[in-house]
């Protein structure tokens, strides 16, 4: 399937008739969705089954060392409950976004490129979902990252888009490198544990079973395993925009809104969470890792929500909300209930895609992303207003919308974890505080855009709904944003969530749970009411210039100055490092060498006269190198080897 996508992608670029190429891409996305639905249906019919098909791409024979049986690079596809579920999410949202693109993108340039890249992205994403081992997973993970880079930079004539693309690529690469190191560490750790040699020779496949494979074999909390887990967390944090690797996601909103909906809300950013889920199910995290995961998730969820509270740009508000909601998923995984994280991923994919596409409709209609210029859009854009409201209610966790069930489940799983480890309490409190902030900022956006009589900026064009290709996805996603939460209550669909001892998907309601739910619903309603009081009916709440809250607002708008910090550090480290090397080569080595050279010249009475300066430099490098090697081999190396106990 992934292959067919690649072919479409390539075909797409060759098709000159733009509309036509788009429809072909939509057709293939529809085919992919049907396959996704079939796979999910098959998985539901035989709950908990694992179907693995693979071939060995490369086999490296063993040597007496870490991997006595050698190891393999395997390419294969694994269909199990989680991958079936994720495949369903990716292909359904992917198809709807493709369809929506036909209407949304129709007056853009470079459409073949757009559909080719989007198709390639879908191909990479499905490949990632069905990968049956970590290395294959990583390959597709990188490919997904590359597609994201291209799509963020789609409007590459715009400098801000180009720089946002670069930023996203570089920041996520930090996570990727750490992730790869984590994979290596897992392999190294595992190879010394029982049965590891066979696992290595078979290509490190994800193996079915209710006990996390690695943790079962290792029997718990070793420092190296903890470090490996932390590396996984770093990889996931890069992709899922968790603190401190979060800053690229809001900037990624420079891409087309459809891309934001598909990649930066529903699918790619969820890949990080997906990684954490499969890592916790198949490899296992140590308790320290889990605490770190909860800490990152809990902090990010609150931290991102605070920034969403003040932002004037509709897309960025939703982007911060994505970071925050991804934090909830990470929280669920960290609390030890991986499938709860998946549950929130599942519902979030639909309501967040819905919010983005609704926002896209608004942007399409009025041509601006500034909330403060909009207003009164409820009347001309009824469908969009209702769709946005459904998404917002779901995001705020108001029953019976989908977000309520999954968010509630996350909160109660953290509560459960906090019973046994009090260190989880602060993050539970942050998570609850975020419920309030979430409801507030998303309804602030809704009231600013839709309430009131008319737009605040008279130069905006008269708003209108988009064509049917844009409306249909809104209807479908609205329906999903309402029912996705209760789907797992049906036994057959629920079987997709039945892995890894996560018995609490769908949520159960005892007395404690009812209390917890009531608190969160109360906080959500409170947030909505506050938003209505401040921003309802076209009001604009302006903070007094001398208000004590002004500095706070500036800090939030400047994103806690973290972005600026990145730039500073990035410039200093990357370019600095390169400059240091250059400087080193030019001055330090040269200088030292010239010193030696002058010495040599004096000693040999100017025998070197007549040679060009440059060549003598090179020759002196060689001489310095020889001296260095002599010292290293004759003195340093024997001492080091002796101090290590000798051979």
């Amino acid at each position: 399937m992934a292959v067919s996508f690649g072919i479409v992608g390539l075909l797409g670029t060759r098709l000159k008739k733009l509309e036509y190429g788009g429809w072909i891409a939509v057709g293939f996305a529809a085919a992919a969705m049907i396959v996704g639905l079939l796979v999910a249906a098959a998985e539901m019919l035989s709950p908990g089954s694992y179907t693995d098909q693979s071939f060995t791409w490369l086999h490296l024979p063993g040597s007496p060392g870490t991997f006595p049986n050698g190891f393999s690079l395997v390419m294969g596809s694994l269909v199990d409950p989680i991958s079936a579920l994720m495949l369903l999410v990716v292909t359904v949202v992917g198809f709807l976004v493709m369809l929506y693109s036909i209407g949304y993108m129709h007056h853009d340039h470079g459409l073949p490129r757009y559909y080719a890249e989007l198709s390639l992205f879908l191909a990479a994403m499905t490949g990632l979902v069905i990968a049956d081992n970590l290395l294959e997973f990583f390959l597709f993970w990188e490919l997904v990252g590359v597609c994201s880079y291209f799509l963020i930079g789609f409007y590459y004539e715009k400098p801000s888009a180009a720089s946002a693309a670069k930023e996203a690529f570089l920041v996520t690469r930090i996570g990727d490198v750490l992730f790869l190191l984590g994979i290596f560490l897992y392999f190294t750790v595992y190879a010394t544990a029982g049965g590891g040699a066979g696992w290595a020779a078979s290509g490190f496949k994800f193996v079915s079973g209710s006990t996390p494979f690695l943790a079962g074999a290792m029997g718990g909390n070793t420092p190296l395993l903890t470090v490996a887990g932390l590396m996984m967390l770093a990889g996931a944090a890069g992709k899922s925009a968790q603190f401190p690797l979060h800053a690229w996601l809001p900037d990624a909103m420079e891409g087309p809104t459809t891309v934001s909906a598909l990649i930066h809300a529903a699918t790619m950013v969820a890949a990080g969470v997906y990684l954490l889920v499969i890592a916790s199910l198949f490899l296992g995290f140590t308790p320290d890792d889990r605490l770190a995961i909860v800490a990152v998730g809990g902090f990010t969820t609150f931290f991102a929500a605070t920034m969403a509270v003040v932002h004037p740009d509709i897309k960025r508000v939703i982007a911060y909300s994505t970071i925050s909601q991804l934090g909830y998923m990470v929280l669920g995984v960290g609390a030890g209930f991986a499938m709860v994280g998946m549950y929130h991923l599942f519902t979030h994919a639909f309501f967040k895609a819905l919010l983005f596409l609704a926002a896209g409709s608004v942007i399409h209609a009025v041509g601006t992303q500034d909330l403060f210029k909009m207003g009164g859009l409820r009347k001309p854009m009824r469908v969009t207003a209702i769709a946005f409201a459904v998404g917002a209610l779901s995001l705020s966790g108001i029953p019976p919308f989908a977000g309520f069930f999954s968010k509630d489940d996350v909160l109660s799983s953290v509560y459960t974890a906090a019973q046994s480890n009090p260190a989880y309490w602060p993050f539970l409190i942050l998570a609850y505080a975020t419920v309030f902030l979430t409801a507030y900022y998303i309804f602030r956006a809704w009231f600013l855009a839709f309430s009131g009589d008319k737009s605040r900026d008279p130069t905006l064009p008269a708003a209108h709904e988009g064509p049917w290709t844009m409306q249909v996805p809104l209807y479908v996603l609205s329906a999903l944003a309402i029912v996705a939460g209760v789907l797992p209550f049906t036994p057959s669909f629920g079987s997709l969530f039945s892995l890894g001892g996560a018995t609490s998907v769908p949520p159960t309601y005892g007395t404690t749970d009812l209390v917890l739910s009531s608190v969160s619903v109360g906080l959500g309603l409170g947030g909505i009411l506050l938003a209505r009081a401040l921003w309802g009916n076209g009001r604009v709440y302006v903070l007094a210039p001398d208000s004590a809250l002004q500095p706070m607002r500036t800090i939030l708008l400047e994103r806690y100055y973290i972005k600026a910090g990145y730039d500073w550090v990035g410039l200093r480290i990357v370019y600095g490092g390169s400059r240091v090397a250059d400087f080193f080569e030019r001055y330090v080595i040269d200088g030292t060498i010239h010193g030696f050279e002058r010495l040599g010249t004096k000693l040999s009475n100017g025998l070197r006269e007549g040679q060009t300066g440059l060549v003598s430099d090179y020759a002196s490098y060689v001489v310095a190198g020889v001296i260095g090697l002599l010292i290293l081999l004759l003195f340093v190396a024997p001492l080091i080897i002796a101090s290590l106990g000798g051979p």
């Binding site: 086999h59 490296l60 060689v622 090697l629 081999l633 190396a637 080897i641």
Partner: protein
């Protein structure tokens, strides 16, 4: 005369004969570049087929000149030994010579000095072929010297271009210094062991019981041959020489002759000495310990590998000129190869060999494309290449594949070779895993400048007022197109299915690590 010796050296004799033929034709008054080129192409192609046949490739069994029974024998007192890894390297050397001579067929047919070019190219190849069967230090160094002298002359063969001449001069001076270091190191080893045959070195015990002499000898060899391999800090010549040399010569230097250093390193620092016993007791600074050669060397090789990768990549980040950028990238690639030498296990040697193999197509291919593009009148700076993909889509697609392969992107051979190499380092336990980590971080860093270059070629537009290069749409010639096409096909085909080649290299490397037993 024993004819089996002649049979053993069939590929060498074919190439040597072709070189002499080229010089003879030149004396007889033939001036056509195509004639010399045809001789060079056919000689390298036939020799390549013979070597592949000797490696046991069944369809070519007719051409086989060395019986399987006389390959991979244990080291003896002889001057030469035929190992299957050596044959693999011969095949790699011949492939690079073949690609470069094929591409050079497209040079202007009335070019002065074309006989010198092809003759010296073949002579350099002869030296490389001999080095691959060396079983004695002096034999090895002499073979390296044949290649060295030929390449110094190659760099300056046009005799007109001041930059080429300056590059040739620099190359020669630093090369001569390095040769003297190598021979001095060899004489120290002779002093320490009482012989220069690898079988003597593999025995390992120092006849006069003074291990420092042997260590010093190896340090000098490391430096002298490190020059060939462009290891930091013996690298500085490479950038000026690759930059100043005629483009096709740069392709040969980076993709071909440099690899002689890799195999020399294999012979000196892995295979024969892997199993060498302890040298004896050595007391630097009052701490006495028993010195064993291999662990001591590993440390030095590891340090050089990390230095070379890192400094090569960091300096590449700064480059504004295409050839200098490729030169620094070539230096950093040498660092990756050195990881294989430092680790020294059979999988690591196979990985390094695959990396060398890949590098022929990636780097020689890239320089051949550069030669083609400069021939179109496009400038030598990266910024002169802005938007070139729109004018020359196929040429730039080939170039893009080569750069992606250098960066180690999956489905190219560059990915496979790095994967095999780094996983061998991880497999080998101990501190070697840090070499893999350093390699990984360096790969991540290198993606940055390759991607930036690709962005320039594909996404940027040339400044509107810039004059179009004079021959922008001129054909680049059949020979050059064929060479570039071969490189691209190899990069992709071996990137998708590397197992056949890799299995051969793994088997050869397994024999090689046991050669000193």
């Amino acid at each position: 005369m024993d004819t089996t010796i002649l049979a053993t050296f069939t590929p060498e004799l074919i190439v040597l004969g072709a070189a002499l033929l080229v010089f003879l034709l030149d004396v007889l008054g033939v001036r056509k570049l195509e004639t010399f080129g045809a001789v060079a192409v056919s000689a390298t192609a036939i020799a390549l087929l013979a070597v592949v046949a000797d490696l046991g490739f069944a369809p070519l069994a007719v051409l086989r000149t060395i019986p399987a029974s006389s390959i991979d024998l244990p080291l003896g007192p002889s001057l030469y030994v035929v190992t299957s890894l050596g044959l693999v390297f011969q095949a790699i050397f011949l492939t690079s010579a073949l690609l470069v001579s094929l591409a050079s067929l497209s040079r202007p047919s009335d070019e002065k000095g074309s006989a010198v070019f092809f003759g010296l190219l073949l002579m350099a190849t002869v030296g490389m072929l001999f080095a691959a069967v060396a079983s004695d230090l002096i034999f090895l160094l002499l073979a390296v010297e044949i290649t060295g002298i030929s390449t110094y002359l190659l760099v300056g063969y046009t005799r007109k271009d001041a930059r080429s001449l300056e590059a040739a001069m620099k190359f020669y001076i630093v090369g001569a210094l390095s040769s003297s270091l190598s021979f001095f190191g060899a004489s120290l080893l002779f002093g320490a062991y009482g012989g220069t045959s690898f079988s003597v070195l593999a025995r390992g015990t120092s006849v006069i019981g003074y291990p420092a002499l042997a260590l010093a000898g190896y340090a000098l060899l490391l430096a002298g041959l490190g020059f060939k391999l462009t290891l930091v800090p013996f690298h500085a010549w490479a950038v000026d020489v690759y930059d100043g040399a005629p483009d096709d010569v740069s392709a040969f230097l980076a993709g071909g002759s440099k690899k002689i250093g890799v195999f020399a390193f294999f012979l000196l620092f892995t295979g024969p000495v892997l199993l060498a016993p302890a040298l004896g007791v050595w007391c630097p600074a009052g701490h006495c310990s028993t010195v064993t050669l291999r662990p001591t060397l590993e440390l030095a090789l590891g340090v050089l590998a990390v230095l070379t990768m890192t400094i090569g990549n960091l300096l590449a980040l700064q480059q504004k000129e295409v050839k200098r950028l490729l030169a620094y990238s070539s230096i950093s690639q040498a660092g990756y190869m050195l990881i294989g030498v430092a680790v020294g296990t059979a999988p690591a040697l196979a990985g390094a060999t695959l990396q060398v193999f890949a590098h022929v197509f990636m780097k020689a291919g890239a320089f051949l494309v550069v030669a083609a593009v400069l021939g179109l009148g496009v400038g030598p700076r990266v910024e002169d290449w802005k938007g070139l993909a729109r004018q020359r889509p196929y040429l730039m697609l080939a170039f893009a594949l080569m750069l992606l392969s250098l960066a180690g992107i999956p489905l190219t051979i560059g990915f496979v070779s790095k994967f095999v190499l780094f996983s061998a380092a991880v497999q080998a336990e101990g501190w070697f895993v840090w070499l893999a980590v350093a390699g990984l971080l360096n790969s991540a860093l290198s993606v940055f400048y390759y991607a930036r270059f690709l962005k320039t070629i594909y996404l940027d537009s040339p400044p509107p007022d810039a004059p179009a290069p004079p021959r922008l749409f001129a054909p680049i010639g059949y020979g050059r197109s064929a060479a570039i096409a071969i490189a691209v096909v190899a990069i992709v085909a071996f990137g998708i299915d590397p197992q056949p080649v890799l299995s051969g290299m793994q088997a050869a490397a397994t024999h090689f690590v046991a050669i000193g037993a």
